[in-house]
């Protein structure tokens, strides 16, 4: 099949096409809170928060090839940090986000140092323990709200007056745009990280650790920092969830949530930028869509969403390990061909170079 469009990289048409793509995406994102129902807008805000967490996981799994089963615990740490600081210490919601990020970075480094010095699945082991004990820890202590979870009380994220969104019916729109802006910034940072010197060092580590070390990459340091950063992303995600929710409870940050994040990342597409966006949407909307189709009150029916999650995780590894992002890429290549830029010729063209025939004897 011949591509419909053929563009030269860096040409004017290429730029325009790129711009149209981004503009369409931005228009959709801006239209959404006004076009969709209040509940759906809330779910899209959650999906963006989860996209941030999945992006965090992408930094450690996609970029450095290690599995973290503890990202639910980091999200939970972020959520509880925000809940406690806002409810008990009268902080503003925004000020809690960097605190959550720093705290999770620190926890990530502490757990990461012993596990990441070694090759293999040790990070998965250590973080598995983390995600299993996290709900127990927050349910034990009073300052985290005990078994009831930490409630925000009357504290809510109130839109400033200039937005004219401070009526109760419009609050969700403000939250949506706040979460959207933070998500966009974090994704740009992550994209730049992927292409930066540390990012390339991490990819080198993933694909050929010995080669990377010989080339002067400080393995342990890069891996630990990457994991810390990844945990910080998850912490921010948890914090962002609290912008909308009024309760943080330990049970929503269990091992299953960690596996849900991994499912989102793998279905979305490992080591890509678009993957985590799709991943966030999957984590929030897939269980919702499944539960909408369940009739009756039998709690056993809810397990269908777990089953479908697991089955799709297995299926995608067999059928399409690149995930949805890979699929989109394949379709895009079919439709639009992007030619690498041809350098302008200077000096003799390759045809003019004469090769001396080398003959034996």
């Amino acid at each position: 099949m011949k591509p419909i469009l053929s563009l030269e990289q860096g040409s004017a048409q290429y730029r325009v096409a790129q711009l149209i793509g981004w503009a369409a995406f931005a228009a959709l994102a801006i239209w959404l809170p006004f076009g969709a129902s209040q509940t759906d807008v809330g779910l899209f805000s959650d999906a963006m928060a989860f996209a941030v967490a999945v992006m965090g996981l992408n930094i450690v799994t996609g970029l450095s090839g290690q599995v973290s089963l503890g990202h639910s615990a980091f999200m939970g740490t972020g959520a509880f940090t925000t809940a406690i600081l806002v409810a008990d210490h009268n902080w503003s919601f925004f000020a809690t986000v960097p605190v959550a990020a720093l705290l999770c970075f620190a926890v990530g480094v502490v757990v990461g140092v012993p596990a990441l010095r070694l090759k293999g699945l040790y990070l998965a082991l250590a973080t598995l323990g983390l995600s299993i004990i996290f709900p127990k820890v927050v349910e034990k202590y009073d300052f985290t709200g005990g078994t009831n979870g930490k409630r925000l009380g009357r504290k809510r994220l109130v839109p400033p007056a200039w937005t004219h969104l401070d009526r109760q019916d419009d609050r969700h729109i403000w939250i949506y745009f706040v979460v959207l802006s933070i998500t966009v910034v974090l994704f740009v940072v992550a994209r730049n990280l992927f292409r930066s010197r540390p990012g390339r060092a991490l990819i080198a580590l993933r694909d050929n650790p010995i080669g990377a070390e010989v080339s002067g990459v400080n393995l342990a340091r890069y891996k630990v920092v990457a994991f810390g950063l990844s945990s910080a992303y998850a912490g921010i995600a948890g914090s962002l969830l609290m912008f909308r929710s009024d309760i943080a409870s330990g049970s929503s940050y269990s091992l299953n949530r960690s596996i849900a994040l991994i499912t989102g990342l793998v279905l979305g597409g490992l080591a890509t930028i678009v993957g985590p966006v799709i991943g966030g949407l999957i984590v929030v909307w897939l269980p919702k869509l499944i539960e909408d189709r369940i009739h009756g009150d039998d709690p056993r029916e809810k397990s269908w969403s777990t089953i479908i999650y697991g089955a799709s995780l297995i299926a995608i590894m067999f059928a399409y390990p690149g995930g949805m992002a890979g699929l989109i890429h394949t379709i895009r290549i079919r439709l639009v061909q992007i030619r690498p830029r041809i350098p302008t010729r200077r000096g003799p063209a390759p045809d003019d170079i004469e090769f001396e025939a080398v003959t034996a004897g």
């Binding site: 127990k136 991994i262 297995i314």
Partner: protein
């Protein structure tokens, strides 16, 4: 002193279960280098199969457990053949992800069928509730039975590994897969047997766990999974004997710490497993008996 002895005996109870699970994990790790994160959920499912056989089909409990172990063997082998082998040539990450998918599917299916009222599972051993008193500390018959049967199974496993053709093949595959293949060993078949044995051991662990708690539900093996991972880490991933000893030591550590440190208590007992994993990784990454080929990469 009585309290200490009592706690030690209690630890032996859990220790048998952790040891069996750790052995299952180590068996797979030794032959393939993978960790099966679904091992716990598979064991939970097997325990429910044993429960159904004994309570709904009215089979004697011990027979139900043996049948469940046999079924689990087949399931484990099928999992290896269908889900794991096709992905092995890709990166290790894909295998981890598939075992996580399996974790969800097996757990979800069990919830779909058995969620709701907690189930009771009788102990397969006679006079389980009775106890021997040693300076006022009660050593339950159950505990002694657990270890007797576990050690018998471990003995059988070692006999199989050292004395049979299949065992020789298994050790050859574990030591060098390519060379094993070159001398004509059916590597695929051997790995299927390894996964099958692991699943059967898991079924045993799951049934013991179900029998040692008053009631059980689909969360049966989730706590055990962490302890057994700590146990294989402590024992050294590729050491089968180490896994058994690791299981016992982890249980002793858990019982003593949660017993004597008030802040930890029963609720945070699982934190001991995490602490154990991190300590071992810091101090002796190859575990007590593991081969020291761990790469610092």
């Amino acid at each position: 002193m009585t309290l200490f002895l009592q706690r030690l005996f209690d630890a032996f109870d859990n220790g048998a279960i952790y040891a069996a699970m750790a052995l299952a994990l180590a068996l797979i790790y030794k032959s393939t280098g993978h960790l099966n994160f679904a091992q716990g959920e598979m064991a939970m499912f097997s325990a429910f199969i044993a429960y159904v056989l004994s309570s709904e089909q009215n089979l004697p409990t011990w027979l139900a457990i043996i049948i469940s172990m046999a079924l689990s063997f087949v399931f484990g082998a099928v999992v290896e053949r269908v889900l794991i082998r096709p992905l092995e040539r890709r990166n290790p990450l894909s295998v981890v992800i598939v075992t996580l998918g399996l974790f969800l599917v097996v757990g979800g299916v069990a919830q779909r069928i058995w969620l709701g009222t907690p189930k009771e599972f009788d102990s397969p051993f006679p006079d389980s509730a009775k106890a021997i008193r040693i300076s006022d500390a009660a050593l339950r018959h159950r505990t002694i039975w657990f270890w007797a049967v576990l050690l018998a199974l471990v003995g059988l496993l070692f006999l199989m590994l050292k004395r049979t053709k299949i065992g020789l093949a298994f050790r050859a595959v574990a030591s060098n897969r390519e060379s094993a293949q070159l001398v004509g060993i059916g590597v695929g078949r051997t790995l299927m047997i390894g996964w099958g044995l692991a699943a059967a051991l898991g079924a045993f662990a799951g049934s013991l766990r179900a029998a040692s708690t008053p009631t059980f539900d689909t969360n049966l093996m989730l706590p055990v999974l962490v302890y057994s991972f700590a146990a294989v880490t402590l024992g050294g991933f590729d050491s089968l004997g180490g896994a058994v000893l690791g299981g016992l030591l982890v249980a002793v550590f858990e019982t003593m710490v949660s017993g004597y440190v008030e802040q930890i208590g029963g609720q945070l007992a699982q934190a001991t497993a995490l602490v154990m994993i991190i300590l071992v990784l810091l101090v002796r990454p190859s575990g007590l008996f593991g081969t020291r080929k761990i790469e610092r990469v």
